[in-house]
């Protein structure tokens, strides 16, 4: 799967190169040709800054008082610190600043465009710069870049070449000075020898594998560290093999590793969505325009003024079939679900397939979830993916990462919905019903989709199915009708039939419904003749569907059908009314 990220980087990120990275830079410092401070400018539309590619990166070598070249934090460049910063950290920053200045001086020998910057750094203007940043309430951890005499030094080939040369020298020096690690004395020398002759998992070339990989950032919201996480990290003996150390256990060359990391960082930044405690990242082999991206429908279904998500997917599929849209013939989608775990990137799922197959699955997903709206007049709007996830839980924050990951796979691959999900949805349905809350469309759609995806003929339709062969479904309808009758006869009685008997009726209809039907006679007596006859007719019609097959008990699937019958009957009763008066019909039927 990482090979697909490398392919993505080669196609879309031309600047991917070892020693360089993309950073979110917040400030631009403008310097004149004679080394005077002109101005400081905030970058980016928001307060986070702008994505800046080709920033020199020291990698893991910046420990021990080292700094990155040119693009660094305010704390390192200007010694802007928190008010209560520890003296040890201030001393560390001074050491880094000294290193930073030294590198600029060395580079200025080769690249004359940096000479004004050396003058600026050596003068007293750094104090002025620090004061300016203090006034702007900048954070010490914000990154800054430079514009010198109107030119961005990161665009200067002389500057970049110097950095490449310096880095190569430094790496070579690092290798020759490398000391054996503490506690690794027992590692066989053979392993070290072999690690120099390994094949890159990404390129298939024989090379020296990276001992440690650059970090993948942007996972701090899903269990990752703010400083970043590594994809291949092996710090415990149990996860190393054959005496291999660190990332040699999954040999990757520097260039390929940089490419897949840049690709993943780019996708996380620009094409990821949070699902519970995970991030879902997706991309396509060939670029797909936003309006044709079927996965966007799952997250942001178009507003009601536009076509529904289901229709959009249908339209794309139809245009692909008829040849109106082309270019997707060999296109493929890739979707990765990731989160962070103690400094490592945890892959939770991986999916790939053809573009057309994806559209078919999305179309199927929305088609399966289609359900009548609670006002009974139309179909409910296509739910966002997170709304479906929310059908299982009281609040979205209670949603577990595995649940959302499984449902994501279900949506994209057309798999059956796990029964445990329906059990959770049914539990929430009952809770909401008893609390007189509104029906949740996504939840009802999910219960319906469960039966469709389970296979077999379950006579599932989005609207009420009066001919449904399952007694459980008809029992649900019957309870809805009895509750409606009670409300019509007595008005608001507080805890009505639903609040008192729904759970019992859905689990043991054979014991409960008979009692409710006999009680319904009292309610019928309170109604005028015409209305009473109408209710009698409706109840009789449902009873004729059940015949004498009222189940003694219902299992989970029976209870789900009961809930669906109950909901669709209520929606059908509301149909034709001008507005969805939730106050008078919440839950059912008060």
């Amino acid at each position: 799967m990482l090979n697909q990220l490398v392919t993505y980087a080669r196609k879309n990120l031309s600047g991917s190169e070892p020693g360089f990275t993309t950073r979110t830079v917040r400030w631009l410092v403008e310097i004149s040709g004679d080394g005077q401070l002109i101005n400081i400018l905030p970058l980016g539309d928001d307060k986070k800054g702008a994505q800046t590619s080709k920033c020199p990166e020291m990698g893991n070598m910046n420990a021990g008082g080292r700094a990155h070249f040119l693009v660094e934090t305010l704390q390192t460049v200007t010694l802007l610190c928190k008010p209560n910063e520890e003296p040890k950290k201030i001393a560390g920053s001074q050491e880094k600043q000294s290193f930073f200045k030294g590198m600029i001086r060395q580079a200025a020998v080769e690249a004359s465009s940096l000479v004004p910057l050396t003058k600026f750094l050596d003068g007293e203007q750094l104090v002025t710069l620090r004061d300016r940043f203090s006034q702007e309430k900048a954070k010490p951890t914000d990154w800054l870049c430079w514009r010198i005499a109107g030119v961005d030094p990161l665009q200067e080939s002389a500057v970049l070449d110097w950095w490449r040369f310096w880095r190569a020298l430094d790496q070579e020096k690092g290798k020759t000075e490398e000391k054996p690690k503490r506690g690794k004395k027992t590692v066989e020398s053979s392993a070290t020898t072999n690690s120099k002759e390994m094949i890159c998992f990404l390129s298939g070339e024989v090379l020296m594998p990276l001992p440690t990989q650059p970090k993948i950032t942007g996972l701090s919201g899903v269990g990752g560290l703010s400083m970043g996480d590594v994809m291949a990290g092996f710090d415990k003996a149990a996860f190393c093999s054959f005496g291999l150390e660190q990332a040699s256990n999954a040999a990757m060359g520097e260039k390929s590793a940089r490419e897949f990391i840049d690709a993943l960082n780019h996708l996380i930044k620009n094409h990821s969505r949070k699902l519970a405690n995970t991030l879902v990242v997706h991309w396509f082999k060939d670029t797909v325009r936003v309006e044709s991206d079927p996965l966007a429908f799952l997250f942001e279904p178009p507003e009601i003024t536009e076509a529904t998500a289901y229709n959009s997917a249908q339209q794309i599929l139809e245009s692909l079939r008829t040849g109106q849209r082309s270019g997707f013939d060999n296109n493929r989608y890739f979707a990765i679900t990731i989160s962070g775990a103690s400094g490592r990137v945890m892959i939770r799922d991986w999916m790939e397939g053809s573009f057309e197959e994806l559209i078919t699955r999305i179309e199927q997903w929305f088609s399966d979830l289609e359900i009548v709206a609670r006002d009974g007049n139309n179909l409910a709007r296509d739910p966002k993916f997170m709304a479906v996830c929310g059908a299982f839980v009281r609040e979205l924050k209670d949603l577990s990462a595995p649940t959302s990951a499984i449902l994501w796979r279900v949506a994209l691959t057309g798999q059956p919905i796990p029964q445990t999900f329906v059990a959770q949805a049914l539990h929430r349905f009952r809770c909401d019903l008893i609390d007189d809350k509104q029906f949740n469309h996504a939840r009802m759609g999910l219960i319906k989709a469960y039966f469709i995806r389970k296979g077999g003929d379950h006579n599932m339709s989005a609207y009420l199915n009066k001919e449904h062969p399952e007694p459980a479904y008809q029992c649900g309808r019957l309870l809805a009708m009895l509750a409606d009758l009670q409300r019509t006869a007595l008005g608001d009685v507080g805890a009505g039939v639903v609040q008192r008997y729904y759970v019992a009726a859905s689990q043991t209809p054979g014991l409960t419904l008979g009692r409710l039907i006999s009680n319904a006679k009292n309610h019928l007596n309170k109604l005028d003749g015409g209305l009473a006859y109408w209710y009698e007719g409706q109840i009789a019609e449902i009873m004729s569907q059940i015949e004498d097959r009222i189940p003694g008990t219902l299992d989970l699937e029976g209870q789900s059908l009961f809930a669906l019958g109950y909901y669709q009957q209520i929606a059908a009763r509301r149909a034709g009314k001008t507005k969805d008066n939730d106050k008078s019909t919440k839950g059912d039927i008060q």
């Binding site: 053979s190 998992f201 070339e205 024989v206 415990k236 054959f242 945890m346 939770r348 796979r409």
Partner: protein, 254 residues
């Protein structure tokens, strides 16, 4: 000389063919690797002569074809694992000889108990495969000393007899020894199940971790070889180990 091929149908409830780049929070390849398939054949029959300089095997197994009979389906598991591993043989021998004090392998405990975060228990994820079923085809490649016709026929016959009787030296497994594999010898004329409609380019996949050509097996250094794996219509064709398609450290890889 054209060698006979043997086909096994193998299946199991769970499997994990860990991708090396994700072996801390484990994530499985969607199909069995050639090395794991070789392990299944080895478990049924692999033999050699024990000599002073190590084990001299009669042959090695060359996996030729992997057919995926069930669509890959993933399952996520969390397991408590130990961070440390069993010490080297000489350390254990020193314990046995009483030259040093035995040190337990910590199965539990944190930094406060063990004094280091390199020992004790940790929880890790495994994304494994469930309900796997493959048809594996492989052939015996005799070592130079045992390459005559008579020997070769004997190895083929022994394997066929053992596999048909369900015999194995150890329980074959799918990637992790916790995930047992069950097998059945498939005769050439038997009705065969169709392969799953599964197509995927897997990139550079692990071929094996040892040099299969070695004549003597003893304390082998790792020799990690890769090949560019593509599953087409549920079939993964595996090139011979000697092939240039299999990238080996010695070959320069290109």
């Amino acid at each position: 000389m054209n060698r006979r091929t043997h086909t096994l149908e193998v299946w199991g409830d769970l499997a994990c063919f860990t991708r090396p780049e994700m072996k801390v929070e484990r994530f499985s390849y969607p199909v069995i690797t050639p090395s794991a398939a070789r392990g299944i054949f080895d478990a049924i029959y692999w033999e050699g002569i024990r000599e002073t300089d190590g084990m001299r095997p009669y042959f090695h197994w060359q996996v030729e074809r992997i057919e995926v009979l069930e669509m890959p389906r993933y399952i996520a598991l969390r397991r408590n694992e130990v961070k440390d591993k069993v010490p080297a043989d000489r350390t254990i021998k020193a314990w046995m000889d009483g030259r040093s004090e035995p040190e337990p392998l910590w199965a539990d405990g944190g930094k406060d108990d063990t004094g280091t975060d390199q020992k004790g228990r940790t929880q890790r994820q495994t994304v494994a495969l469930k309900n796997v079923r493959y048809r594996l085809t492989a052939k015996i490649v005799p070592k130079s000393k045992f390459a005559d016709h008579e020997h070769s026929n004997k190895y083929d016959s022994i394997f066929e007899r053992r596999a048909k009787q369900g015999k194995c030296f150890q329980q074959p497994y799918f990637g992790c020894s916790e995930f047992p594999a069950f097998f059945e010898y498939a005769n050439p004329g038997d009705a065969q199940k169709t392969t799953a409609s599964f197509d995927q380019h897997l990139g550079w996949m692990l071929y094996d971790v040892f040099d299969l050509r070695r004549e003597v097996v003893k304390n082998d250094k790792p020799f990690i070889s890769l090949f560019d794996a593509t599953v087409v219509n549920g079939v993964l064709d595996v090139p011979p180990f000697e092939s240039e398609k299999v990238r080996k450290p010695e070959s320069g890889g290109v």
